[in-house]
Amino acid sequence: MRLTRQITGLMSFLAIAALVACGGGGGDTGGAEGGGETATPAGTPPAAVADAGSVNGTIDFTGSAPANEPIDMGEEPACAEKHSSPPTRETVVANEGKLANVFVYVKEGLTGEFPAPSEAVEVDQNGCVYIPHVIGVQTGQDVAFKNSDGLLHNIKAAPTENRPFNISQPNNMTSPRSFSAQEVMVPVQCDVHGWMEMYIGVVDHPYFAVSGDDGSFTIENLPPGSYTLEAWHERYGVQTQQVTVEPNGTATVTFAYNASMAANAVVPLGTPIDPHGHHQAGDR
């Protein structure tokens, strides 16, 4: 009886909490229209700005990309079956001289506050891999961690500027979580499946993107001005570049990565080389 009361109490509390949260979220983000691609790695296009321009960019890659480590999913046949070709890690995804999974964001030059969009960015755990492998999100915006595998995953986020957490998902379910401080990048890992890892770029504005398989990215609705752009790749490190966006203009940038930059690698999750310095690449 007592338990039933507790559960009922919990449910009503959650219901109220949900109402409050939804109401608050709606009020904050009046300008989130055009956000049809909320589930993509790119940022939610922000509210229209007068004379806004954009940045079109490409991530070039020269040299031969190392083969990604194959994943042995023998212990999870249900996941192995979901892959038509043998699964590998996504450490370096390079095609025809273009590099994917590079997080690009405006590091300097912005002023003002940018309310968080109410739409969550989804990260799916499907086939015992994270889809996508790299995302960007705004501070205060939810990341919806979804389990489509119906088997035990845990989601361990290991930020240093934000609070780390570790959630168990023993079945199909979705857990929303948000980050309050800017941090590039937040590593996320599944301890049940040691090969599962992904990265989240948390920035306090909507001007960020993740390069696609063709190496391209777009940052839209940028107020005219001069900015420092930073590009981050988990193996090849961080680069910055100045860019000037003219009113209603489109600036074009190219970040050039090459295979010899591996020395700049962000130390992969869990490698006990420098336990305290490995999340800082984006901050320096």
Partner: protein
């Protein structure tokens, strides 16, 4: 002291602690907890609170880094800070299964409370974040139904993925586990609740299920509960079930009694063993001689012994996460060696130049028992750790793959195979779900009487143990050992022992009756005369 201040200044310069650094330094300088911390805590946790004190390198898991405010044992949701009471609890009670001792009896209440607030100054998170303890309610009573439900929920929540089917911490994902700082970490052996970092009561276990152990791979199940995947009641059932796997820390007794039986079982699976009393021998890392070993995997061994008129059999049972050498654990082995012996491990030189992990040759699981070569006459015993050159020990050793050997221990790390015919030692071993069970069997009387012990009836014989988990990087002097214990062969009481008092009683009574009778007769005669 200066080190801590400099360190903070460095952080401030890097912009990592932009606003709070100077405030934190000022706050730390005068803090009443500071002298207590510097004296008692800094040796492991470091003066700057980063968990890199002088002794830290000898520990696995490593001491807590307070600058990240990441605390395992909390009453708060995952990702939240602990309450002051949570921090105080760990200071008071320590963390079982780690090097962290409890300080309740060593420090005053005031000192411990000051430590709590001082620890919080190491992290800026405590300046802004708020904490709220979860109301866990109270544990429902255990019953057979609850335990059965717990067993099922253990399956549906897939706890076995890390903790193993039998709960011995040997799940499929166990070899890849690492903590927040990238150090290898073992899933808890659920059959040993006395090693649980957050305590081994049903309430403790339930709370860890709800909050997770932040900084470790153990996640929180609160989200899953709220998503309806497991009810609050079911999580309590799991807690009861987990507790039922282990119970309380067994009391180690100094004398292992070998009981007398009609026949002696040779097989570890023989049902005869269920009736034989078992004795718990705790083992600790070998840290006397180099290479020392601070990260032992085997925490203790259960010992049972039986003898008949001819033979003795000793069954050793201990938990071990793998049947070493097991290739799925080879990376674990390298990582353990790398963090425990960065400058000593094989391949360390190569690692310095290439950054590659040192390669450690695969080693088998093994266990050894040693005895003096002959029953001691007085208090003197050989050196407890594999003897020495002057007074060697006689050893039984079993190794996965190669089986039994008899050896002479001539000092730490010097077990030399006994020459000659040997004394008929045999072993049989079984590995099941993270547990070895090995029976040693030998005739009571030795053939090689100079080097091997003949087991005497009724006399306590010293014996000591050493266990190696090969996949944990253990071989040679790296492993877990015990001090001297004793083996006593009990004998059925001989019939004469019952007969002698009886004869004495009868004799006394007879003499008495005769004497009294004679006295009475004499009295009668004197009265008559």
């Amino acid at each position: 002291m200066r080190a801590a201040a400099t360190s903070f200044a460095r952080f401030a310069a890097l912009g990592l602690l932009p606003v709070t650094a100077s405030a934190a330094i000022a706050q730390q300088e005068d803090h009443p907890g500071r002298p207590v911390y510097d004296r008692w805590c800094a040796g492991c946790h470091g003066e700057d609170g980063r968990g890199e004190g002088d002794a830290a390198g000898f520990m696995l898991p490593r001491p807590r880094d307070f600058t990240q405010a990441l605390y395992q044992v909390r009453s708060t949701a995952t990702g939240s800070l602990p309450t002051d009471a949570d921090i105080l609890r760990v200071i008071d009670e320590g963390m079982p299964g780690t090097a962290m001792p409890g300080w309740r009896d060593a420090l005053t209440e005031r000192e411990r409370e000051d430590l709590v607030t001082y620890l919080k100054t190491f992290s800026r998170f405590f300046e802004s974040e708020t904490v709220e303890a979860i109301d866990f309610g109270r544990a429902p009573a255990a019953s057979d139904e609850v335990l059965e439900e717990g067993r099922q929920v253990y399956q549906t929540l897939e706890c076995f993925k890390c903790h193993g089917e039998a709960g011995r911490g040997d799940g499929a994902s166990a070899p890849t586990q690492e903590d927040d700082t990238g150090f290898p970490i073992r899933p808890a052996d659920l059959t040993q609740p006395w090693t649980f970092n957050g305590g081994g009561t049903v309430e403790d276990i339930y709370q860890r299920l709800r909050t997770g152990l932040d900084g470790t791979p153990m996640p929180s199940y609160t989200d899953a509960m709220e998503a309806g995947i497991a009810t609050e009641e079911q999580l309590w059932s799991v807690a009861h079930y987990v507790k039922s796997l282990g119970g309380d820390l067994p009391v180690a007794r100094e004398v292992v009694e070998s009981s007398r039986a009609e026949t002696v079982p040779s097989s570890p699976g023989d049902s005869a063993w269920t009736d034989v009393e078992r004795f718990w021998i705790p083992l600790v890392g070998q840290i006397i001689v180099r290479p020392r070993w601070f990260a032992p995997a085997v925490t203790g061994v259960w010992v049972q012994a039986v003898h008949d008129g001819n033979d003795i059999a000793v069954r050793l049972t201990w938990n071990d996460r793998s049947q070493s050498p097991d290739p799925t654990w080879s990376e674990w082995r390298s990582r353990v060696m790398e963090v425990m012996e960065p400058h000593e491990g094989p391949g360390a030189a190569a690692a310095d130049t290439t950054g590659a992990a040192p390669t450690v040759p695969p080693a088998p699981d093994a266990i050894a028992i040693w005895f003096p070569r002959s029953p001691p006459t007085g208090m003197e015993r050989p050196y407890f750790f594999m003897g020495n050159a002057r007074q060697p020990v006689y050893a039984w050793q079993w190794e996965n793959g190669t089986g039994a050997r008899e050896a002479l221990g001539r000092g730490p790390g010097r077990l030399e195979t006994l020459g000659g015919e040997g004394n008929g030692l045999t072993t049989e071993a079984v590995f099941d779900n993270g547990q070895w069970s090995v029976v040693f069997r030998r005739p009571l009387a030795a053939t090689d009487t100079e080097n091997a012990l003949s087991f005497p009836a009724g006399t306590a014989v010293p014996m000591a143990f050493f266990a190696w988990d090969g996949d944990n990087g253990e071989s040679d002097t790296r492993g877990a050992l015990s001090s001297w214990y004793f083996l006593q062969l009990t004998e059925p009481t001989p019939p004469t022992l019952y007969a002698t008092p009886l004869i004495a009683v009868l004799l006394t009574a007879g003499i008495g009756i005769f004497a009294v009778g004679r006295a009475q007769r004499r009295e009668r005669m004197s009265e008559e005369s």
